[in-house]
Amino acid sequence: MATAVITGIGIACPLGVGHEAFWSAFSSQCLDRDPPNHEIAPRSGDPEGVPAPRTGSVFLPEFQAERYADPRALRKVSDLTRLLTVASHLSLDDASFPEDRALRQETGVYFGTCFGSSAYHLEYHETLRREGVTGASALLFSHSVFNAPSGHVGQTYKLRGGNLTLVGGETIGLDAISDAADRVRAGIDRAALAGGADQYSPIVHASLHQSGLIGEHFAQAFDESPTAIAEGAATVLLEEADAARARHRTAYAEVAGSGRARAGKTGTGESALRRAIAAACDEAKINPSQLDLLICGASGGKTAPAQRVVLEALLSEAPDPVSITPKDRLGEGFAFTSAALLVIGALSFRYGVSGIGKPIPANRSALPSRVPSTVLIFSLNAGNGASAVVLRQPGPTDG
């Protein structure tokens, strides 16, 4: 099996566009004691009277995607497609990915999303309900299918490998990246663009809030209430390590192992999370005691207790790990934030861990300033599905 490494990173979210801007904003926000308190400004076109909370980390439709990617690629597409196109462009640019036709023919696209192009989708449904079959909008229908963004990105950047869109819960961006890494390692694709995105819409927000999955305010990771909503896109470019080295690219990280598990009938979210983490560590051929950065996807609410228990168990095994819970700064952006957790892990090999999170538990001393050698990212979704990925610092042979 080959080694899959991350050679490009792209991120577009309210904290920043591009990984440098994102890291700068993320790490400076982490120094604040209190969670952010972003208010969602009223936006033209939003339906009136929808009882959605007013707090969240959102930046559409003001986000000027045309500053970051070819405007021709951003016309007449949904906001979700625009987000993913920008993040993809940034990843490919960051990796200096060649225009080589043969290489791009064997490059796949693997995105995760929870709600898809929800604004288009909901507008389509409303129109359909009001006007019936003959009033349905062809444009809204076409652009609201779940895989419209991945198809568009493949078309824009001439990527003709596999093109899959995974739909799921809070872990789905992380799942898409680990599936893509598997395909690169197995030689099915020579390279893969992978990540996750979700966009905000008031109706989806109201639905999530009334279902108890999103809170009225930003919350801490292990609070009883869930945190506020977020939107954005985060993508990585994965390549086989030898190929990256041949292109003289310095990799951010190696995707060393991954694992996923479910509670099933007889298990629990906690047991699923433990098994996913064990599988990821086994595949990476490391002992959990060797992990030195733990990135936990807890965002308050019902999945938080299981994640806390597992995190504390990991902390007790490793000699001096650092742990962070980024969603208390990012909010819950579903596919976006789960991909962003991995991006943070990859960037930690470049920027170090100083200042990117409060020590957990709170009585530990200040975070050491160092670059980790192995990072574990893990998360549990509301359907008791657990995901874990181990990143390793790229070695001298890994690009």
Partner: protein, 395 residues
């Protein structure tokens, strides 16, 4: 498997072999003003199901059909239909075009009739996929990996390729792959709006082809490593010899006219199967009977197989009989390919009349026929330019 031709693999297969069509007038939702009046509705899951459940809670209907088909597959594999073997090593991969699409008519009725402030947003259940995946995992005690792939009409085939990945990478020992989609107002209206539906019977690959008809579908395939399945004493139905995927990178809803993306997927499947094109004995086409798909698909077949081989290579288009079940189609048609291998029979293709001129001579059967089949190919192509090709072989 559940299709408009039957509930269960054997009923659907038997009806397909006999040349029946499953199209009938749409009763599940109002289609006032539509020129297209028919589709392939599966039989109601349970005659005692309430009118409310039939019309409004179609996700519940989808889930029940899905669970029934999973039990059928487990029984056919000689297993307890209520539980997967070795739950931590059992995995589930779903393929669906609709995925978590919120279709709650009750929500929209309230939203529109009483205003946004009065609607029950929890009814929208936007966060729909995870509860359903959790329900199925709990139902069958699947504790390994589970996910849903939604790459439009290729989803049913892609769920099988993802399932194969899990086995190859030793992430699972037993994978339930499910392609499913139910007939929904929102997709009916959507395809109607882009002119893809036909009010006439389907005429795939024909000069008069004018579009497709939609249908319900669920197709379940259980994958295991051959050595594990033999050791467990399972009855093997077919080998998955190869799989290939690609993207057209051309257009959101139209295939690349030269068929190059589809040809790439087929060639990748052949390469992974270590087979030459002439070693394929039968091809299950995607064949939606839309003007653009069928011509592009023909050109792809010609690129891969060459005109000479293509002239005599048996082809089958299932959609005139079964309709297009979107995310289910790839899995349903994969199952038909496996059944063809099992029974060494190729089903008839309905509606092929007066082939498109560029296509010349092609081999579609008017009646089911026995054939010597060793390797068969099943192709699925979807919105976004997603292409998937599967090759199955005899055991």
């Amino acid at each position: 498997m559940t299709t408009c031709l039957g509930t269960g693999v054997e009923e659907s297969w038997r009806n397909l072999l006999s040349g029946r069509s499953g199209m009938s007038d749409v009763t599940s939702f109002p289609i006032d003003g539509s020129k297209v009046l028919d589709a392939g509705e599966a039989a109601p899951f349970d005659e005692s199901v309430s009118e409310h459940e039939k019309v409004f809670d179609r996700r519940e209907r989808a889930r029940k059909h899905l669970e029934r088909a999973c039990r059928e597959a487990l029984r056919n594999a000689g297993l307890d239909p209520e539980i997967c073997p070795d739950p931590p090593r059992a995995a589930l991969v779903l393929g669906s075009s609709l995925a978590a699409s919120a279709t709650s008519l009750e929500f929209w009725n309230a939203y529109i009739d009483r205003g946004p402030g009065e609607a029950d947003y929890a009814m929208l259940r936007s966060y729909d996929v995870e509860p359903m995946i959790e329900t199925i995992c709990r139902e069958f005690d699947i504790q390994g990996e589970a996910r849903l792939v939604s790459n439009a009409c290729a989803a049913g085939a892609s769920c099988i390729t993802l399932g194969a990945d899990l086995l190859r990478l030793n992430r699972a020992d037993f994978v339930i792959c499910v392609g499913y989609d139910t007939l929904e107002l929102h997709t009916f209206a959507g395809f109607h709006s882009i002119g893809a539906l036909s009010k006439h019977p389907l005429h795939p690959f024909s000069k008069t082809r004018a579009g497709m008809k939609l249908s319900d579908g669920v197709g379940v395939v259980i994958l295991e490593r051959e050595k594990d399945a033999r050791a467990a004493g399972r009855k093997l139905l077919a080998r998955l010899l190869g799989r290939g995927e690609s993207a057209d990178a051309h257009h959101l809803t139209q295939p690349a006219p030269d068929g190059s993306g589809a040809a790439l997927a087929m060639q990748r499947a052949l390469d992974r199967a270590n087979l030459k094109p002439y070693e394929i004995d039968f091809v299950s086409l995607h064949a939606t009977a839309t003007p653009s798909n069928d011509l592009a698909e023909y050109r792809a077949l010609r690129t891969v197989f060459g005109e000479d081989t293509l002239r005599t290579l048996p082809l089958h288009a299932a959609k005139p009989a079964l309709g297009h079940s979107l995310g289910a189609a790839g899995a349903v048609e994969a199952i038909l390919s496996v059944l063809a291998l099992r029974d060494q029979r190729i089903p008839p293709t309905l509606g092929v009349i007066d082939l498109e001129e560029e296509m010349g001579e092609l081999s579609f059967l008017r009646n089911a026929e026995e054939h010597d089949l060793r390797a068969v190919m099943s192709n699925s192509f979807g919105f976004g330019g997603c292409n998937a090709s599967l090759i199955f072989g005899v055991v």
